[in-house]
């Protein structure tokens, strides 16, 4: 089947997608994506509150993908080391969707961490953040488990995630973050 780029173009328009990418996440790519999103939001005349929230959450979501790339490469190989992300502007909110492969065993650990975050209310999230910030160990690159707590706090929404087992040991992790505007 031939690729019809016009269909793809229309689809992106219909779904209000501002930017989408599939591939390897490098530091340079992140710099460009952040610059593109910043100027797009500038052109859309977004209030500074919205711009800052979207930018902040985007940084965390994309750096999460970046931080886990080396580990994914080690565990699953180059074939499963590509990720996808999409940023859309809907009527009432911005949507940041990310997807990446993960080992099924690790998916279970991640899922319980995300479920814990979702069980907390605003004040409990704040306390949890401070606890991890103050006592948590710093990973080699400095992540240290704060990213998802921060996304939950700043977006003010429960984390919307899913895991799809695609092979015995291989799962696909999707995250859909909504940011009210």
């Amino acid at each position: 089947m031939d690729i019809n780029i016009y269909d793809f173009y229309n689809r992106m328009g219909r779904d209000n997608i501002l930017l989408s990418f599939k591939g390897n996440v490098t530091s340079e790519l992140l710099t460009s994506v952040l610059q593109i999103m910043e100027s797009k939001m500038e052109r859309l005349n977004e209030p500074s509150r919205v711009k800052k929230k979207v930018y902040n959450i985007l940084v965390e979501a994309l750096q999460n993908l970046h931080h886990h790339m080396d580990k994914t490469f080690e565990e699953l190989g180059a074939e499963f080391n590509t990720v996808i992300f999409m940023i859309a502007k809907m009527d009432t909110h911005y949507s940041i969707c990310t997807g990446n492969y993960i080992k099924t065993a690790n998916a279970e650990k991640l899922e319980s961490r995300l479920a814990k975050i979702n069980s907390l209310d605003k004040e409990e999230l704040k306390a949890h953040y401070k606890e991890v910030l103050n006592n948590g160990m710093m990973s080699e690159k400095g992540g240290g488990g704060l990213g998802m707590i921060d996304i939950a706090r700043k977006s003010g929404q429960k984390l919307d995630y899913s895991f799809q087992v695609v092979g015995g040991d291989l799962s696909f992790y999707s995250l859909n973050i909504k940011i009210a505007q």
Partner: protein, 122 residues
């Protein structure tokens, strides 16, 4: 001790530390992928410093990886204060930036240093 000056980039803040009068400024964006490496020169400089300190944090954005390093910087300042020096931190945030205000409150609750949260006039 020599002054420490790091020029800002789109992903890292300007850092200015003058041991002579104890002034420290961190200003701009702090969203590097590897923040430990970026903050190391400042953490090292504070390690060898014993004197009063007046600190201004004027950040537009910072990622969670930087948030741990910023706490490390504050912990060094806490130690400097415990050695009998005057230390004060001013955390600046823009009027409508609730997230940056809350981030200041988080640090204020964690560290034991006079900590002022100041609104930037736009």
């Amino acid at each position: 001790m020599e002054n420490l000056t790091i020029e800002g980039t789109p992903k890292t803040p300007t850092i200015k530390f003058q041991p002579e009068d104890g002034k420290l400024l961190i200003q701009g964006r702090s969203i590097p992928e590897n923040s430990i490496e970026f903050y190391k020169p400042l953490v090292d400089a504070l390690d060898g410093y014993n004197g009063s300190a007046a600190v201004d944090i004027v950040l537009e954005y910072f990622n969670t990886s930087s948030s741990k390093c910023i706490l490390d910087v504050f912990k060094k300042l806490e130690k400097i204060k415990s050695e009998g020096n005057d230390v004060e931190i001013k955390w600046h945030y823009e009027e409508d930036d609730e997230d940056m205000l809350e981030a200041g409150e988080d640090y204020q609750a964690i560290i034991n240093i006079p900590f002022k949260i100041v609104e930037i006039e736009e």
